[in-house]
């Protein structure tokens, strides 16, 4: 995780080249190609990088990171200071905030939005699990979170179940974006672009960060073969893909896409042996077949393995045949699965590969209907405590994530390493590698930079007027 943080920092420092004598220009449509089409626009339910990128363009969070990775106020007026040793935070909204439908944003809207994030349909409820009373909302016993107290039109106090100094980072994570449900049941956000049609968005003039430079935004998914010519022909302005897309300038996201193998307990006495065998797979070899920028991942927290004994010191029984399941939308997973198949065959285990539609994969995982699964998780925050909790949520659900977060909050590096190691053991999880994405912008696109979670800040991107460059 330290390595991830370092890489994230490097990625943050790369973008946003200075522009001599140049100020951003308003106007034009920004056309962005994502690795896949965004399918989920509800921040509480988004699950892929494409969903996150769409949320970054359309939603606003209470806090956010600037282009150097420093936390700064978003919808809030100032950064909240921890009170009571980090057990509570007093939040004050900036004046004059509005949702994209023109309705003012009040403290009660924030409370309702966080309660919505904590609710049963949310897959990111773990982000609220440190707030007192969030469990009751998750389990449907309460509508609002008891630990969130509205003090005035613009002020609220959040009380936590335990001290958590990184809690503001949870408020900066994209799933914590502030939304409201209008009378028609539609979700309304407060980000730079508001919905204007099928994956098209219009500039929101009253956005808290200021009106975006582009008048409109179009998001679409594109594979490698479609992205490169679209960028070259100026049919697209930005293309985000795992592989290198020729043309224009390039940025690279932090490698926040973790790929893990999870072994199901249904393998019985051979589960542990399978876990050990998977752990012995050469990760460096795996990443050779991944076209995205990738780094081997020997543990969730790299330091955690150094102190422990190597797994598999004692021979354990292995199954003769297993099925390796993975979602069908990732070439990297397919390549890794094929490599694992070969590796396990050498140890006498026949591996059948099986893809599952990406939208059904999480449900299949939750039901335990698999032998071994390759699970991709795009971290919404590189903060170690939150990253561990997200991994726990993806593999073990809300309660496990809540326990992990409670243990990780305030833990020092050694304690975090232990926690990471025990999480791997409990979940029978084998971290394999982490991947990033490459962001290509055609010539004439300026101001683009990447947030800590790898999503592009499209509100700051702007387009040169055609034919205006010259001596």
């Amino acid at each position: 995780m330290k390595a991830l943080l370092l890489l994230a920092l490097i990625a943050m420092l790369m973008p946003a080249a200075a522009t001599a004598g140049v100020r951003p220009r308003y106007g034009g449509e920004l056309r962005v190609l994502l690795p896949s089409p965004p399918l989920e626009f509800d921040p509480a339910r988004m699950n892929s990088f494409a969903d996150l990128a769409a949320a970054r363009a359309t939603q606003a969070t209470l806090l956010e990171h600037d282009s150097r990775g420093a936390l700064r106020p978003g919808l809030l007026e100032t950064l909240p200071a921890p009170e009571d040793g980090g057990r509570s935070y007093r939040l004050r909204l900036a004046p004059g905030l509005r949702f994209q439908d023109g309705e003012p944003i009040a403290a009660s809207d924030v409370a309702a939005s966080l309660a919505r994030l904590a609710g049963p349909p949310s897959i990111h409820a773990w982000l609220t699990s440190s707030i007192a009373g969030a469990h009751a909302v998750k389990h449907g016993h309460a509508r609002l979170i008891a630990g969130i107290e509205v003090l005035s039109e613009r002020e609220l106090r959040i009380t936590l179940s335990y001290p958590f100094l990184d809690f503001p980072q949870a408020l900066a994570a994209l799933p914590s974006a502030i939304v409201r449900v209008d009378k028609g049941g539609n979700l309304v956000g407060a980000g730079a672009f508001r919905p204007g049609g099928e994956r098209r968005f219009q500039a929101f003039d009253d956005c808290e960060g200021g009106r975006p430079f582009a008048d409109s935004l179009a998001l679409a998914g594109a594979d490698a073969r479609a992205a490169a010519p679209a960028l070259a022909d100026h049919r697209a302005d930005i293309a985000i893909r795992p592989e290198l897309v020729e043309g224009g300038s390039h940025l690279e996201t932090a490698p926040l896409g973790l790929v893990m193998a999870i072994v199901s307990q249904r393998l019985g006495p051979t589960a542990r042996g399978t876990w050990v065998a998977l752990d012995a797979v050469d990760r460096r070899e795996l990443t050779r077949f991944v076209r995205a920028p990738a780094a081997p991942l020997n543990s969730l927290l790299p330091a955690s393995r150094e102190k422990g004994a190597p797994r598999g010191a004692v021979p354990m029984p292995l199954p003769r045949k297993i099925t390796l399941s993975f979602p069908d939308n990732s070439d990297a997973l397919r390549a890794a699965a094929a490599r694992i198949q070969v590796s396990l065959y050498d140890r006498g285990v026949k591996v059948a590969l099986e893809t599952t539609p990406a939208r059904l994969f999480a449900a299949r995982l939750a039901s335990g209907d698999f032998d071994v699964a390759l699970l991709p998780v795009w971290l919404v925050s590189p903060v170690p405590a939150l990253a561990l909790a997200q991994i726990a949520a993806a593999t073990g659900g809300f309660e496990r994530a809540a326990r992990v977060l409670a243990q990780a909050a305030g833990a020092d590096a050694v304690a975090l390493s232990r926690l990471s190691s025990s999480l791997e053991t409990d979940l029978l999880a084998v971290p394999l590698f982490s991947t990033g994405l490459r962001v290509a912008a055609r010539e004439g696109v300026e101001g683009l930079w990447l947030h800590e979670d790898g999503t592009p800040e499209l509100g700051d991107a702007w387009l040169w007027p055609e034919g205006s460059r010259g001596p």
Partner: protein, 444 residues
């Protein structure tokens, strides 16, 4: 015969004085002794501006007499004269500095071989041989003393001098007298304050920006500032997204509000710039850091945009000629406007957002001082002479940061205008640069 030859070669524009001609002859004799006829690129600079052009003339004549073809480097060619000499495929580059020390005329020169060398063709910047220093002196006679004392703006080349740093990012600059008979002052607008400086960049006064209920955040912070006759105050400013702009007066170490005006709407009430042809008023587009295409010589609450064109900023000439104002569009095209706001010359493309109008050479027509509109880690200052085909007459070496604002005024106190430019540095601070074409190039 000599005069006839000089006239034929076009060197008789400036008469060489006796002592100057002797010193030039002496220097050339030492410099090109043994050199067969070739091409010499010549660049002359000097601390006494009046001597530069006559020295060019005298040296050119002396070189011609010794069978050398002379290429005189001027204007933008002086930004990197050695490279220019190579580009012109000159055999030698002679760089000469003329100065008057007491009553002694001194020419100091450096002779640099620049002829193309077969063995060095892969490293074209390498000198094929070492340079040689030469000098010559002569007691200054009457004409030389007279020419040295005559200030001739526009000779030599402009110089760019760092004035000082401001600890925050400057969004707009204005320069001028903030009261009757008072010296030139600088006004800088930042995201939080209005600052008043003297020409040495010493802070005299500051005033926080007022906060109003209708204030909106703008993604691209921007401001305008003007010094002139503005509704009783001499200073006017507005900041994009702020609901209120102010007219101020400077009193001792205080900036005091004379009037405020609601500036959130789309009416021509915001002071954009002020110059010899009067102030200009306009409006920021709501929620944006750009101006609407509304330009009015007086506040006009009923004003409407003339087109959908958006502007980054407007400049006014303190001493207008045919050009009195300039407006930079968001397509980085600069439109030059006369006193009645009519377009007077063809638009100039690729002008950066830090720009100003200033009559740097004292010829009665303001030059355009412009930053670069090319993205990159550094900026450049260019001086353009307006015309049917605007001509670049100076381009500076790279300047750190991004030049974001500029203004014209006589900061050196010699009666000739200069330009001041604000470069935003990556650290979040701002460096002020003085661009002057004066003989001495120092702020007095």
């Amino acid at each position: 015969m000599l005069l006839l030859l000089a006239a034929l070669l076009g060197f008789a524009g400036q008469p060489a004085s006796g002592s100057l001609a002797r010193a030039a002859d002496d220097l050339v004799a030492r410099a090109v002794a043994g050199e067969e006829g070739g091409t010499v690129a010549l660049a002359v600079a000097g601390t006494d501006g009046g001597l530069v052009e006559p020295t060019q003339t005298a040296l050119s004549a002396a070189l011609s007499r010794r069978g050398q073809t002379v290429v005189l480097l001027r204007g933008i060619q002086l930004a990197d004269p050695e490279a220019e000499a190579r580009a012109l495929r000159a055999d030698l580059f002679l760089r000469v500095r003329v100065s008057l020390l007491g009553e002694t005329l001194t020419l100091t020169g450096e002779l640099i071989p620049t002829r193309p060398n077969f063995f060095l063709q892969r490293v074209p910047t390498a000198r094929p041989g070492g340079s040689r220093l030469v000098s010559a002196t002569a007691p200054a006679d009457g004409p030389a003393l007279a020419m040295a004392s005559t200030h001739r703006p526009g000779t030599g080349s402009p110089s760019l001098v760092a004035l000082g740093d401001i600890g925050e990012r400057v969004l707009a600059l204005a320069a001028g007298a903030v009261g009757d008979g008072t010296p030139v002052r600088l006004v800088a607008v930042t995201q939080t304050r209005v600052l008043l400086f003297d020409v040495h960049c010493a802070l005299l006064a500051s005033r926080p920006l007022p906060v109003a209920p209708g204030d909106r955040r703008v993604r691209d912070p921007a401001a305008v500032a003007a010094i002139g006759d503005l509704r009783g105050g001499r200073i006017g400013y507005a900041v994009a997204g702020r609901a209120e702009s102010e007219f101020l007066s400077a009193s001792g170490d205080r900036l005091e509000r004379v009037a405020s005006i609601p500036s959130g709407g789309l009416a021509a009430v915001v002071p954009l710039a002020a110059g010899g042809a009067g102030p200009l008023f306009g409006a920021f587009l709501p929620g944006r850091g750009t101006l609407a295409d509304i330009l009015s010589r007086s506040p006009d609450p009923q004003g409407h945009p003339r087109s959908g064109r958006e502007l980054f900023g407007v400049a006014a000439a303190t001493r207008p000629g045919r050009v009195a104002y300039a407006a930079l569009g968001t397509d980085f095209t600069l439109r030059l406007l006369g006193p009645s706001l009519e377009a007077v010359f063809p638009d100039i493309p690729a002008v950066g957002v830090g720009f100003a109008l200033a009559d740097l050479d004292g010829d009665g027509e303001p030059e355009i001082v412009a930053s670069s509109a090319t993205p990159g880690p550094s900026d450049r200052v260019r001086v353009l002479r307006p015309g049917d085909r605007s001509q670049v007459i100076f381009e500076s070496p790279p300047v750190e940061g991004m030049i974001i604002a500029g203004a014209g005024a006589d900061l050196t106190g010699d009666g000739i205008e200069d330009a001041i430019l604000a470069a935003a540095l990556p650290s979040g601070t701002t460096r002020l640069w003085l661009l002057t074409w004066d003989a001495h190039g120092t702020v007095r």
